[in-house]
């Protein structure tokens, strides 16, 4: 066997003979830079006769999408690796082997986009062409539909037709040649259900800014037709306007969580570090425990830190993701002004949503600050020996990668390092970890939406967590806590399973 010999598994299915698909292993020689498509051709040259679909071979036509190791990809674009598992796209009828019937996708596409419509007689403006051109590159491969976690829940818990159609509606909305009501249609097709987990956009072979398109559409609805915005989202933004927090609580009670803990305020003298607490950790009883645990750790590690106290405002993520960009700028402006006023050098955020927003959105508003998520800080403190973990926690734990920490920012190792450093704790990986992480359902305004009957994202994920045999689902985000704790209750796992923030586990182990 040469060094270039690799093995791959391919799902084989012939509807005339098989009840279901089965994985068959093939061995082949890998040429340098060989794509999956090349590998399939090589396997068939051995006489395997695998059915697969392809067209252009230059990732333009979108016909060759399949599931590779559980993630949707184009076979003509992705390099073949040893041990890859190749399956057809999920939740579609399989014609044979890797070929699926995508009629369902195309029908919806026609229904939304190609139906006969009135033309305005205008020519396309340059401004609108600019808005449209990225959406135009969508090749309808269906990869985003295969990625979107909402589309794979069972029951009618969500009314969402999927990211690809939102891109098409964005294109339609920007096109001044057509008379349309793309905004109303997007609401009918469930635009408010998107949790901004970004799996669609990250999987898109053409790098269409899918999530940005969705947020742009939401922004237009918010601005021009706010009666089409779910009432709870309207209340969310009204709360952010009135109180600078999402929960409609008084500004003067923002630091009540720290009563009796002797937490220093940043305005009382310069500190090395600003602890950005966030709304949930400041106001929700459950999440206050996270802030309190983290403060205990920082104090024990003798870190010089302070909080903004009642002057902290929501970082702005919920406003941004629900399309209220003006409100986002207002909230970010409050925080940026305070960071500058108090000469903040480094920030640690408890919520991945605040971390992402400060890290990647504030610089656009002239607010560049060094910011880390609290799990990154814990990793650092443990590695340099400032935190001593002496108590054994004999438990099996699995970990949920928060979308805004993992997929948005590529932070996968730090939280795992922290968990592995806890004596006695065994970390087991959940299905679909890291890049494949499955959203809890709390992002993009999801935390504030009413849920219907049927399987929720959180329930689906908690089911996967329980299946690992772990007793604890460790998380690093307050939305995950809210969604998963609900799911633990609704699925009846309360007696054997719990959700904990990593900060709580570390504080316990000290």
């Amino acid at each position: 066997m040469s060094n270039n010999t690799i093995k791959v598994k391919v799902s084989r299915y012939n509807p005339e003979i098989d009840k279901e698909g089965k994985l068959v292993e093939y061995t082949l020689e890998k040429e340098p830079g060989m794509r999956i498509l090349g590998a399939l051709k090589a396997i068939n040259a051995q006489g395997a006769n695998i059915a697969y679909r392809y067209g252009c071979e230059e990732w333009e036509c979108g016909s060759c999408a399949i599931h590779v190791n559980g993630m949707p990809m184009l076979v003509c674009k992705t390099e073949i690796q040893d041990g890859m598992v190749l399956k057809p796209l999920p939740d579609l009828p399989v014609n044979r082997d890797l070929i699926v019937d995508r009629t369902k996708y195309f029908k919806k596409q026609d229904e939304l986009y190609q139906k006969p419509e009135k033309l305005t007689g205008q020519e396309l403006t340059f401004e609108n062409q600019e808005k449209m051109w990225k959406s135009i590159t969508c090749m309808e491969c269906g990869i985003c539909l295969a990625a979107c976690p909402i589309l794979h829940t069972t029951g009618k818990s969500y009314d969402y037709s999927g990211p690809e159609y939102m891109v098409q509606l964005h294109r339609l909305d920007s096109d001044n040649r057509r008379q349309k009501n793309a905004l109303q249609t997007s609401v009918k097709e469930g635009i408010w259900e998107c949790t901004a987990c970004k799996y669609c956009e990250e999987s898109c072979p053409q790098r269409v800014p899918i999530l940005q398109d969705i947020i742009d559409l939401r922004g237009k609805i918010m601005e021009d037709q706010s009666t089409l915005v779910p009432e709870t989202i309207r209340t969310l933004n009204t709360n952010l306007v009135r109180y600078s927090n999402a929960y409609g609580k008084q500004k003067s009670e923002r630091s009540a969580w720290a009563d009796g803990l002797d937490v220093p305020l940043i305005k009382d003298g310069e500190k090395e570090l600003l602890l950005f607490v966030g709304d949930a950790e400041a106001y929700n009883k459950r999440d206050q425990a996270t802030a309190q645990a983290f403060v205990k750790i920082l104090k024990q590690a003798k870190v010089s830190f302070g909080i903004l106290g009642d002057e902290e405002a929501n970082a702005g993520d919920p406003a941004l993701k629900t399309g209220e960009s003006g409100l986002f700028e207002e909230l970010a402006g409050i925080n940026i002004a305070n960071f500058k006023k108090f000469n903040v050098k480094k920030i640690v955020a408890l919520s991945p949503h605040d971390y992402q927003t400060i890290k990647n959105e504030y610089p656009k508003l002239d607010g560049k600050f060094e910011v880390v998520h609290y799990t990154q800080m814990l990793d650092e403190l443990i590695q340099c020996g400032k935190i001593k973990l002496s108590k054994k926690l004999n438990m099996k734990v699995t970990y949920q990668d928060p979308c805004f920490l993992g997929r948005y920012n590529g932070v996968y190792d730090a939280p795992r390092n922290v968990l592995k450093a806890i004596p006695g704790l065994t970390l087991v990986e959940i299905a679909n970890p890291k890049e494949q992480t499955q959203c809890c359902g709390g992002g993009g305004g999801g935390n504030w939406l009413d849920v219907r009957a049927g399987e929720r994202l959180g329930e689906r994920r908690v089911g996967q967590a329980v299946a690992t045999g772990a007793a604890i689902l460790a998380v690093g985000c307050s939305f995950c806590v809210a969604m998963f704790e609900d799911a633990v209750k609704t699925k009846g796992y309360e007696e054997k399973f719990a959700v904990k923030q990593i900060a709580e586990l570390v504080a316990e182990a000290m």
């Binding site: 601005e223 915005v229 009432e231 309207r234 009135r242 109180y243 409609g248 003006g326 700028e329």
Partner: protein, 266 residues
């Protein structure tokens, strides 16, 4: 259709009562510096009703408020929602206006504004919950009135109003001009994006004084007081928790029912 919406700026009803302070000498709530002031919730429903009508058949929506200078913000929020004009009634002689004087002053201002088809008010204020100003205005203007509207429909120069009543809906028809007080069933108010609120801050909102609208001094101020606050205090909330148990869940249920019945709660 020409619509006038009367709104009131009030202390944010989300502020917990425990933070309230009362000046016992004058029986008034002391508005503290960090208290938010908002457009009374039912008045926002009235705004929504006006904008729904405007969306359907066009027209003009004018917002009218009697209050302190701070009420400029409340009026401008309504402009951001979609109102065309705003007017603030502000005069030292309007201070401490009671229900009677408020209704009278608003009706005088409305007479000055000129011809109108419909006046909309919230079914009651979010702070005092009296719910008398709307009907008061209608009485002073001598026009038909319907209260607690869940829907308003325009039909051949008339309106059909569905009123919220304890056992369903009353459907009444009113000739115009008329006054309708609006309930939350009309639909939750639209959300004005912050960009619009900022733009509305530039909108000029004229102030009208007692002299401008021509009020009879005997109808406002102390001379016109029809109601008197005898005592105002912050209520103390107490919660006592008792766990009702039983040998079986069924027995616990029975025990709970017995307790509730003894307490005349069921």
């Amino acid at each position: 259709m020409n619509i006038i919406v009367c709104i009131k700026q009030i202390i944010d009803t989300a502020i917990p009562v425990r933070l309230y302070k009362i000046d016992p000498a004058i029986n008034r709530v002391i508005v503290q510096k960090d208290f938010n002031l908002i457009v009374s919730d039912y008045d926002r429903n009235a705004m929504e009703a006006a904008l729904q009508i405007k969306d359907k058949q066009g027209g003009k929506v004018t917002v009218l408020s009697l209050g302190a200078k701070s009420a400029f913000d409340a009026i401008r929020e309504c402009v951001a929602m979609g109102a065309d004009e705003g007017i603030l009634l502000n005069d030292p002689t309007f201070d401490d206006a009671n229900i009677f004087a408020t209704a009278y002053t608003l009706s005088q201002a409305i007479k000055k504004i000129g011809p109108f088809d419909l006046i909309l008010c919230g079914r009651q204020e979010g702070d005092w919950d009296a719910g008398q100003v709307g009907t008061g205005i209608a009485a002073f203007l001598d026009i038909p009135v319907a209260t607690a509207a869940a829907s308003i429909e325009c039909k051949d120069g008339k309106i059909e109003v569905q009123r919220v009543v304890s056992d369903g809906r009353d459907i009444v028809e009113l000739s115009l001009p008329a006054l309708v007080t609006v309930s939350n069933e009309i639909g939750s108010p639209r959300y004005p994006v912050l960009k619009r609120v900022m733009a509305a801050k530039k909108k000029e909102v004229p102030v009208r004084t007692a002299q401008d609208i021509g009020v009879d001094p005997n109808m406002i101020g102390p001379a016109a007081v029809r109601t008197k606050i005898v005592n105002l205090s912050v209520s103390v909330q107490e919660a006592k928790c008792e766990y009702v148990t039983g040998e079986t869940p069924e027995q616990a249920g029975v025990n709970l029912a017995v307790k509730l019945k003894a307490g005349k709660l069921i």
